[in-house]
């Protein structure tokens, strides 16, 4: 599983969703070029809606692995898609700057130490 289809509400159209295709190949190459682990910025809920200003409690993260779990013994033919994501560290007190309005993030070098890896239901 290397592609995650994420429905994002279309701008100025509340009933229509755009499909964003997040690619995640892990370590293997993507089309004979570098491996691809897309960033997903607006759909990883990490807190309440009133947190982090315009981020509304969501955190930018990078896809590390996409996988499925089949629950054959509990519910027949039920498959849950899961994603392993790596959270990015937010700089500047986790709020957008008043000058440029951009929230600065950086990808932490180590992922195990601070528990920034998380598995999320997709």
């Amino acid at each position: 599983m290397t592609q995650l289809e994420i429905p994002v509400v279309a701008f100025q159209e509340s009933r229509v969703y755009d499909i964003h295709r997040g690619r995640c190949t892990g370590a293997p190459l993507f089309r004979n070029q570098t491996s691809r682990n897309d960033c997903v910025s607006s759909w990883i809920q990490a807190g309440g809606e009133n947190m982090y200003g315009v981020l509304r409690g969501r955190f930018p993260a990078r896809l590390i692995v996409l996988f499925k779990i089949r629950s054959g013994y509990m519910q027949q033919d039920t498959v849950y898609g899961l994603a392993g994501v790596q959270f990015m560290s937010l700089l500047d007190s986790r709020r957008p700057s008043d000058v440029h309005g951009v929230t600065c993030v950086h990808v932490p070098v180590t992922v195990h130490r601070s528990g920034q890896c998380r598995i999320s239901y997709v």
């Binding site: 994420i6 429905p7 279309a10 100025q12 009933r15 229509v16 969703y17 755009d18 499909i19 964003h20 295709r21 997040g22 690619r23 995640c24 892990g26 370590a27 691809r36 682990n37 897309d38 960033c39 910025s41 809920q45 990078r62 590390i64 692995v65 996988f67 779990i69 629950s71 509990m74 849950y80 899961l82 392993g84 790596q86 700057s97 000058v99 440029h100 309005g101 951009v102 600065c104 990808v107 070098v109 180590t110 992922v111 890896c117 598995i119 999320s120 239901y121």
Partner: protein
């Protein structure tokens, strides 16, 4: 605007930082990752420029990070200016407007005009450049005459002073001669009126007309024998248009219940394209509400967290980035 930004980055030795940020942009759905640094690209297409507009502010923010005490104010001003202009262009692309969005646009334009002076020195025209060069030459001539009468021990000090004077004179001349008086800059002040008069502005985009130019004019020109080409182009496109309209008319008649010959109905059914949903767009259907993350799922399945962690480690380990 990119020329102004490049000028600013060059003055503050930040061009390399900008290129590095530009090349390091991560992949994102709907975003084309640039393969080359900004300075390496010789020719820009419209699609690439639109792409650039989406990520320019982020790249510039990274490039202008950690300024020294003399740069703080200038960088703040530059970022505010770029942000206001980009915000304005983004809002101008809205397909519907409210009084609030129009007032936002006006605010952005006002903010841009308040902060645009930071880029004034990069709006230098050829005439101003020539004038500045002439002034520099004149100063140097005067300096050469003075040097004959000056003692050799004083020459260095006077040389530094003269260079400073030359720079000051240049910096005085350039803002007084440069301006932002050009048509595109003036047009943005009329957007509010245009929106009230003509509704949304993207509706009047000429890019579709540019695309149609290829099919309607260039293909017709290639098919013609280049003698009285205009007439041949018109008739060629007219024929094509008529041929394409004919099946549509027949389909309409069929839907209306008209009695069409069997061959025509068979042909229509054979050539009718299968209805397909748009590739990138669809209505979201219902989702499972009671399970939000893996913990909820495990609870529902009565599996312990420890078990699933041991199962997942082999999957996640090869995909993790290398540790520094």
């Amino acid at each position: 605007m990119m020329d102004w930004i490049q000028g600013l980055l060059k003055n503050h030795v930040r061009q390399q930082a900008c290129d590095d940020a530009w090349k390091a942009l991560p992949p994102y759905p709907g975003f084309f990752v640039p393969k080359m640094a900004y300075r390496e690209v010789k020719q820009w297409q419209t699609k690439e420029l639109r792409n650039l507009g989406r990520c320019l502010l982020g790249v510039l923010t990274v490039a202008l990070r950690q300024p020294d005490s003399t740069q703080v104010q200038r960088f703040r001003c530059a970022l505010t200016c770029v942000r206001s202009l980009l915000d304005f262009t983004m809002m101008a692309q809205y397909r519907s407007h409210t009084p609030k969005t129009i007032s936002y646009m006006e605010e952005y334009v006002t903010q841009f005009h308040e902060t645009k002076d930071i880029f004034l020195e990069f709006r230098i025209s050829k005439r101003t450049q020539e004038k500045a060069d002439e002034l520099s030459k004149e100063l140097r001539r005067q300096r050469a005459q003075m040097r004959e009468r000056v003692l050799p021990s004083q020459r260095r000090r006077i040389g530094d002073h003269n260079r400073e004077q030359e720079n000051d004179q240049r910096m005085e001349l350039i803002p007084s001669e440069s301006n932002f008086n050009f048509v595109k800059m003036h047009l943005i002040s009329h957007f509010r009126d245009y929106i009230y008069m003509f509704s949304n502005i993207p509706m009047y985009s000429t890019q579709h007309g540019e695309l149609a130019h290829k099919e309607q004019i260039k293909d017709g020109w290639r098919r013609s024998n280049k003698i009285d080409a205009a007439r041949q182009i018109l008739s060629s496109y007219g024929r094509q248009h008529a041929i394409r309209m004919r099946p549509l008319h027949l389909e309409f008649l069929q839907r209306a219940g008209a009695d069409l010959p069997t061959e025509v109905v068979e042909h229509l059914e054979k050539t009718r394209p299968a209805p397909t949903p748009p590739a990138n767009r669809r209505i979201l259907k219902g989702r499972c509400d009671n399970i939000h993350d893996v913990v909820d799922y495990l609870r529902a399945c009565n599996i312990s967290l420890k078990t699933i962690c041991w199962e997942l480690i082999p999957y996640s380990r090869p995909s993790l980035p290398p540790q520094g």
